[in-house]
Symmetry: D2
Subunit: 273 residues, 4 copies
């Protein structure tokens, strides 16, 4: 289980999420309270949008808590849209190419979750990729592969549709190969204009996702775990939902890959305040 | 609070302490159960004696749990005397020069503990070093400095006497400068022939130290925390003690720096089974 | 262009090749004289056989000249059979998984050379691998892939035959896909008992390979570039040759992948003293 | 011999110096043409001023040519005043704390050069530092120590005077201790408002320093070696000079530490066009 935080709004110093809050991402890397894995010491990364369409990317394999470069960059860089991640490896060695966020053109992506039996699904999933996307795979994680599959399935055209199709495809493939059908997926991704987040799990046990307003002028923050103890400030996003932060503010929608029986999810959603 | 393990006896693969046991040092780096700090992710090191008088040394700044080199070396190298350490930084940045063990000539040293108000004592302590020892200081930790001071005070001639004098000197200096007088010190060191360990604290609250026989033929293991759950196999070494593992087996002695009132320690020792 | 050195014979300290000679591998990493690329600063590695069937492996991404761990390990470890490599990246990022030697079970492999148009051949070549070998690929270099293909094609049964078949397969595939047909390949590999080296190029322009006796009792050293200036000590192995160092000493054979017109090679070999 | 580049003017992407030009700093790290040491592979760093008074700092120990983070940051960050450096170690291990630029409060500093017999001068020079500056020393290079001494001698009040006093002090100390009196010093430093550079050597053999206008609106670039082959664009700054880039443009002055006989320098300067 990894931890992540993302922001969209007026330009904000990265440190406002990464290092300053009581439960900043760096703090969480050392001692997460809601996460299954106590330590997220297997690398970190931050992707931020600035004056260019493509995001800047800084990733390294040290624990976030001991990286002086991260603190300096987070203190210096202001951005209207950024993603930050600390990693607890579940698969894929500790190396930069396996650290989130992943970037492809203008798109960035980061993830907390897992695919069951991934070692058996990896090769047929990689087979789905066009040569260009296949060659751009530099790591070995399930997360990077989900991102590349979403690009394959039309992330540019229909971000949430492509992501739903990606997850449905993984679920169908696992069923077809008679493997465990289980995707847990709490992710954020962006094209530099809108910030998307999804919370979904085949078994309704997706990692947590919270939202809170941030800053003076309508900014929002999406996190895997609240950054401070102001309980009422953080709204939990229910399983089976997608959040879109854009020019028109916050939009929460049902996120329903074809692979999951819709009935179950709707029943679940009905329980949410 | 760091964790460490040391061995002297018939040649043993390093992995017998580093990666194989239930609570191996690598396992402890991720989740220590008796240590104050849950994570020892700020680097690691191993020093082993082989065919040369000087030990081999492998240290790095990654968490021990994610270093494939450490696993391979620990699996391949057999040694009759070695020290292994995982670090939770209390001071001094995360860099190789601050990782234990420290090596100087044939001597190796590793430490779990602290000096109170070290930032105020560091400079006058460094002033005590001869030019050669001063120039050989490459890191910034209190641990390396204690090692160099012990070398200055005669570690080659009288290992335990020099170590006691080092600690007493630190305590006296702190008192003289009207700083907190507090040294907590659980350390192991060796010249390649004997293996020494000390457990001592000014306030009788030294980090733990355990000993257990290991292997078929009279080998012994000294650890900051037991490597498995066989409770009866591990003997706790009391505060204010030194252990010497040599050709004549195990020798446990009182360790009494001049700086600590002897009465208190003897009273404490009387309580130990 | 990388540089490498390998040894088989009486146990020898790794430093005898890695750091001690006038043109040691570390020295060559900083300033190679025969290599196309002046600097081999993109990582290094050493694989050595000891008491276990599988080799030990130490690889890292720093330049070899600045890695204190490498110097200490090379000074401490003695082995009857080892491979050492310094890398100048031609493709594949600078990360441990892309550093040579590569190890699979008891086998080790390292390489100096290239496959033309590899970015277009990579995917169909990876398709040839069984699931097990496919999943064991952790890097992105052509070198690792050549090693895995050789394992696929029977390296355990017939080492030189499998290696020839691998190269021929790459050449045929390139021709079939109407890409440049060019493999340059100077490699060493071992199962811990015999040490093999091959020098071959489709265009008769393979990187150099030299052999020299080493030590008192019949040991041999194979290198991409001589380790000292004693010119008469080093025998250049001609293009289109394989060397086998085993219990019966040195054996040099013609190495002729099906893909290269045999006539050209024999003509070339006829010119060799 | 290291290489460096610094800029002051309209905000410029760091890549304009670091990675884009024909002889960019990254290119120079691999193959410097005027430098004594062909390879500058012992780490790199960049310090840039943004919206805060203190600069951002990114340093790492990989060769600059293989660090993907550096390329991304250089492509993303724009700054009106920045310093960038690639290192060829002459003393002090390869670690982040020994990479330039060094930063203290609002000040940044980077250096190409050396102090003769530094191992004998280091300790008495460190003795000159106040406790605060002594404790802020985290590396072991002569360069960092020159920076801290300049801070000690009044860098905030009189930047060029303090730097001259620092060099004169080193020269006098070396003479007093009967060591070689030799400082070679081509450095850049800044408080975020003005950019200073100095070229000086006791023996009139200082590393090179060049200046060129950059950008549309009066920006200037100072480099240890030209960034492209437009010979006429680069003005060589003579030995014994200081350059100040500020709001009023470029100012070149004589830089004359008390320790060097003024006559020699003036004679030399008279030769400069």
């Amino acid at each position: 289980m990894c931890r992540w935080a993302a922001y969209r709004g007026e330009p904000l110093y990265l440190e406002e999420l990464v290092s300053s809050p009581a439960h900043s991402l760096i703090e969480q890397s050392h001692c997460a309270t809601r996460a299954k894995t106590a330590t997220n010491g297997d690398g970190f990364g931050v992707a931020w949008y600035g004056e260019r369409p493509e995001p800047g990317l800084y990733r390294d394999i040290l624990p976030a808590w001991s990286d002086c470069n991260l603190r300096s960059i987070a203190r210096q860089v202001r951005s209207p849209l950024f993603l930050a991640h600390v990693r607890a490896a579940t698969g894929g060695g500790t190396r930069r190419d396996n650290c989130h966020p992943f970037v492809h053109g203008v798109w960035s992506f980061m993830h907390n979750g897992q695919i069951a039996d991934f070692e058996h699904l990896r090769r047929p999933l990689e087979t789905m990729l066009d040569n260009d996307l296949y060659n751009s795979r530099t790591g070995s994680t399930d997360s990077e592969l989900l991102f590349l599959l979403a690009l394959q399935f039309g992330l540019e055209r229909d971000p949430l549709g492509a992501m739903a199709e990606t997850i449905a495809f993984v679920e169908r493939l696992a069923a077809h190969l008679e493997r465990r059908v289980l995707v847990r997926f709490t992710a954020a991704f962006s094209d530099g204009r809108q910030l998307y987040a999804v919370r979904y799990a085949t078994d309704f046990a997706a990692p947590t996702l919270y939202a809170a307003p941030m800053g003076e002028t309508g900014g929002y923050c999406l996190v895997s775990e609240p950054l401070n103890d102001e309980v009422e400030a953080w709204v939990e996003i229910p399983d089976g939902s997608a959040v879109v932060l854009g020019e028109n503010g916050v939009d929460v929608r049902i996120f329903s890959p074809a692979g999951r029986p819709a009935g179950g999810m709707e029943a679940k959603l009905a329980l949410v305040r």
